[in-house]
């Protein structure tokens, strides 16, 4: 038999909707694309736009799995489209925008607004003791292992997959989600941030924070960066419990 298999025809079902168009309604549109070697959904979607429908809207920026722009539901699961090889999927692929975020059009969603609100709400920046620091002097020392540990949590790309994968937040949109909890864990770990446990408790010690998490672990299982979300949320839960006991 011939080793060269003829390429598959991919059937791509895209959930489309243009909220700016009053006559439009959410509907599925099917596109057929001939599969190529090493093809990713980035290539697929661009082919569709270039050859089949130039109005198809989607977001890619780095197209290398680094920036987190292209999160969407691929066969129902949130993931980064740019680093999804079609060879790992069936020939029939469904694409839909992530739920919960504001829809711009088709697969394009407005994660920026959501994440900005989250960052502002959780104050995800270093709260230093003194504001004016002298940068001519040697930098503050940090334990090398701790720096690595902080970086591990700093790798989040705010793609929103954990939010879309979280059952809790679907029902209760005021929940901060794994992305928010991970950020708090990151700053809690960071000795440069001088916030007290009580201040962190104020941020996440309620049903919208760590105590709202029901440990469905959708976040952990869909995170494209393999962040240790389950373990960090557990850590925060223990920390916050301790803080409550302490007071």
């Amino acid at each position: 038999m011939s080793e060269e298999k003829s390429p598959r025809t991919l059937k791509i079902d895209v959930l489309r909707y243009d909220p700016n168009d009053k006559n439009d309604f959410p509907h599925i549109e099917r596109f057929e694309v001939l599969e190529a070697d090493g093809m990713t959904l980035y290539i697929v979607l661009n082919e569709i736009r270039e050859h089949l429908d130039n109005s198809l809207m989607f977001d890619f920026v780095c197209r290398a799995g680094i920036c987190g722009s292209c999160s969407m539901l691929v066969n129902g699961r949130p993931t980064l489209a740019c680093s999804t090889l079609t060879s790992k999927l069936d020939a029939h692929i469904t694409l839909a925008p992530l739920p919960l975020f504001k829809l711009i059009k088709d697969l394009s969603i407005y994660t920026g607004e959501w994440m900005r609100y989250l960052n502002e709400h959780l104050e995800t920046w270093i709260h230093a003791k003194e504001e004016v620091l002298n940068f001519d002097k040697l930098e503050e020392r940090m334990d090398p292992a701790l720096a690595d540990e902080i970086y591990e949590l700093d790798r989040c790309v705010e793609c929103g997959c954990c939010v879309a994968g979280c059952g809790t937040i679907q029902m209760k949109p005021s929940f901060v989600g794994a992305v928010g909890l991970n950020k708090v864990a990151r700053y809690h770990l960071d000795p440069r941030d001088k916030r007290s446990d009580e201040e962190y408790y104020e941020l996440i010690g309620d049903e919208n924070g760590v105590f709202g998490c029901m440990t469905l672990l959708g976040c952990e299982d869909v995170c494209p960066k393999d962040l240790p979300l389950q373990s960090k949320i557990a850590y925060l839960r223990r920390m916050m419990m301790k803080t409550a006991l302490k007071n």
Binding site: G76, P99, G218, R238, T243
Partner: protein, 243 residues
């Protein structure tokens, strides 16, 4: 640093839900094993009931102990249910969203939670019935009395549903509890999680087999035993006046 007074209630609610869940799950694990003593012999099952009525401590039986235990469990059950209720979908809209979410995601742990919601909901009713009977008729526990309740008092189907519900709810709950608080997560949480999940599934299987076998045995006794003498069990080794 500013030292504001923090609201500790959410922490306590969360902790209490976990703690009551843990106690109830451990209780169930024991309960089903004790009840399975029927598989060994009627005699053993009888001795187990005597034990719970305090016979081996006081030399005579006090069914009130069982009532008391059942009441304690009932309280834990109610507290746990009340706290868990906070997490339930609170409207049809929410229910629809979570249903769609779990169907779409095909994600095991999310689906397991749905099972907990459904089984938890079931237990509001059948668990309450069961607990109430245990509280109100503590002395009606025994190889024949229980069998009679299963068959003649039509509790069999209810027990069957309760068994499936409570076992899956309890072990999924224990699994979730371990992950929730990072119990024994070790250096590789993903590996311990996989192990816990395997353990959970194994325990569910084992307990369902044991539980169904016991239920089968009670049903068998309930169908074949001659209850014309009443439902009291006559032990060959222990003779009591009031039993």
């Amino acid at each position: 640093m500013k030292q504001e007074k923090i609201d500790k209630v959410p922490a306590w609610l969360d902790f209490t839900q976990s703690a009551t869940g843990l106690i109830l799950a451990l209780f169930i694990m024991g309960h089903i094993l004790f009840e399975a003593s029927i598989l060994v012999s009627n005699e053993l099952m009888y001795k187990v009931t005597l034990m719970f009525e305090g016979y081996y401590f006081f030399g005579e039986t006090y069914p009130g102990i069982v009532s008391f235990l059942a009441a304690a469990i009932f309280i834990l059950f109610i507290v746990h249910a009340a706290l868990a209720l906070r997490k339930f979908p609170s409207s049809y809209q929410q229910y629809k969203i979570i249903r769609e979410h779990t169907t779409r995601m095909q994600h095991e742990d999310s689906s397991l939670w749905m099972i907990q919601v459904i089984t938890g909901f079931m237990m509001f009713f059948i668990g309450s019935v069961h607990l109430y009977i245990m509280m109100s008729q503590p002395s009606n526990i025994g190889p024949y009395a229980s069998s009679h309740r299963v068959v003649a008092e039509f509790m069999g189907p209810l027990y069957f549903m309760l068994l499936l519900a409570v076992i899956s709810h309890a072990f999924i709950g224990l699994y979730r509890l371990a992950l929730k608080w990072g119990f024994m997560e070790g250096k590789h949480p993903e590996i311990s999680r996989a192990k816990f999940k395997l353990l959970m599934k194994a325990m569910i299987a084992v307990y369902i087999i044991v539980g169904l076998s016991s239920l089968g045995k009670y049903t068998y006794i309930g169908l074949t035993h001659d209850f014309s003498d009443g439902v009291k069990y006559k032990s060959q080794t222990i003779h009591m006046e009031n039993h």
